[in-house]
Symmetry: C2
Subunit: 229 residues, 2 copies
C-alpha cells in the first residue's frame, strides 16, 4: 500500500512539474509570437494548449484517487490538497499564455504592439518565463525559502506593469485607443501569469510548513495606482 501510495504522490508531483514547464514554454512562445507577429508560433501555442488541459484533468484525477484510496493525513494530505489547488493556478497560467497567442493571431499580419512598448513586453515575457521556471523548480524541490523568493521576482513584474500604464496614459501616446486596449489587456495577462506563479509558491510553502504565507497585496494595489504622475 505504502509503495503504491508513494508512487502516486510522485506521479502527482511530476504532473504538476510538467504542467508548470508547459505553461512556461507556452508563455515563452506566446511572447515571441507577440513580439515578432509570428503567426505560426501563435498557432503552435494555441494548438498545444489542450495538452495542459489534459494534464490538469489527469492531475485532478490522480489527486482524487489518492484521497479516495489512501486517505492521507497531515503533511501528505496537505500535499494532495495543495496539489489540487496548484493545478488550477497552472491551468490558468496556460490560459493566459493562450490569450497572448490569440491576440497575436487576431492582429496578424499586423504587429499588436507599437514599437515603443516592445521592450516592456520583452522584459515582462522574460520575467514571466523565469517565474514559471521558478515555480517548476519550487514544485520539484519543495524548498520553502526558494518559494518565498518568488514574491520578490514578481515585484519586478509589478513595477514594469505600472510603468507600462504610465506610458499608455501619457498624453504623448500616439498609437490610439485600440492599441492602448490591447496593451492594457496584454499587460494584465502577464501580471496575472506572474501572480499565479507566486500563488503556486505560496501553496508549496503551505504544504511543506503547514502555514500559509499572507496573500500578496500588490495585484490590487497596482491596479489602482497606474495613473500616478
Amino acid at each position: 500500500m505504502r509503495v503504491a501510495y508513494n508512487e502516486q504522490m510522485t506521479e502527482l508531483a511530476d504532473l504538476l512539474g510538467e504542467m508548470a514547464g508547459l505553461a512556461g514554454a507556452a508563455m515563452e512562445k506566446a511572447t515571441q509570437s507577440l513580439l515578432q507577429a509570428d503567426l505560426e508560433l501563435a498557432e503552435q501555442v494555441i494548438g498545444e494548449h489542450e495538452k495542459i488541459t489534459e494534464l490538469s484533468v489527469a492531475a485532478e484525477e490522480r489527486a482524487f484517487a489518492l484521497l479516495a484510496l489512501q486517505a492521507p493525513v497531515a503533511g501528505d494530505l496537505r500535499s494532495v490538497v495543495s496539489g489540487l489547488q496548484i493545478v488550477s493556478d497552472i491551468d490558468r497560467m496556460g490560459a493566459l499564455a493562450l490569450h497572448v497567442a490569440k491576440i497575436t493571431r487576431r492582429r496578424h499580419p499586423n504587429y499588436v504592439l507599437p514599437e515603443e512598448v516592445n521592450g516592456y513586453f520583452a522584459e515582462m515575457g522574460r520575467i514571466a518565463v523565469a517565474l514559471g521556471a521558478s515555480a517548476k523548480e519550487v514544485l520539484e524541490t519543495r524548498d520553502p525559502e526558494r518559494a518565498a523568493k518568488l514574491r520578490e521576482e514578481d515585484d519586478a513584474m509589478d513595477d514594469l506593469h505600472r510603468h507600462l500604464f504610465r506610458v499608455i496614459m501619457n498624453p504623448e501616446w500616439k498609437h490610439g485607443v485600440a492599441a492602448a486596449v490591447d496593451v492594457t489587456l496584454l499587460g494584465r495577462f502577464y501580471e496575472r501569469f506572474a501572480d499565479h506563479t507566486v500563488e503556486v509558491a505560496r501553496r508549496v510553502i503551505f504544504l511543506v510548513t503547514g502555514k500559509m504565507p499572507e496573500e500578496p497585496q500588490n495585484e490590487s494595489e497596482d491596479l489602482t495606482s497606474y495613473t500616478q504622475p
Copy 2:
C-alpha cells in the same frame, strides 16, 4: 461520527453559500459606487473584503479537517474537493468586486466612466449580481439543471462585453485613452466575475453527477473578437 460528519458537511456548504452571497453583495455595491462615483460605498466594499478572505480560510480549514478526520469517499469526497475549488472561485469573485471599488476610489471625485458606457456597466453589474445569486442558489440546492443554466446567463455578459469593446474601439470614441483603459479593465473584471460563477456551477454539476461538464470556450473567444467591425 456520522452526525458530526453531516454537521461539518453542512457547515462547509453554508460557508460557501455565505461567501457567494457576500461576493454578490460586494459586486452590487461596487457597481453602484462605480456608477454614482460614491466613495463611501466604494470604501465599504474595500473594508468588507476581509470578511470574504476570512470565510475562505475558514472554509478551507473546514474542508481540510473533513478530509483528515472523516476520510470521505465517493460523492462525499467529491463534495469536499469541489468545495475547496469553489472557495478559490468565490474568493476571486470577491477580489474582482474589490478591484471595481478601488478604481472608483482612485478616480473620485471624478466618475470613472464616460456617460456613454454607463448603461453597459449598469447591465453588466446587474448580470454579475444575478449570476452571483444563481451561484449561491446552485450551491444551496445542488440542482445540476439549474447549474447548467448559468452558462446561458453568462452569454449575455459576453455579448455585452463584446459590444463594449466595439464602443471603445470605434473611431467616434471621444473620451481618450485613459478612460478606454479603465473601461477595458472594468469590462474584464465583470466578465471574469461571471466566468467564476459559471465555474462554481460546473463544479456543483461535478459534485452531484461525478461528471465535469466541458470547459466553456467563450472567455477566450471574446477576447480575440472584440474589434470585429
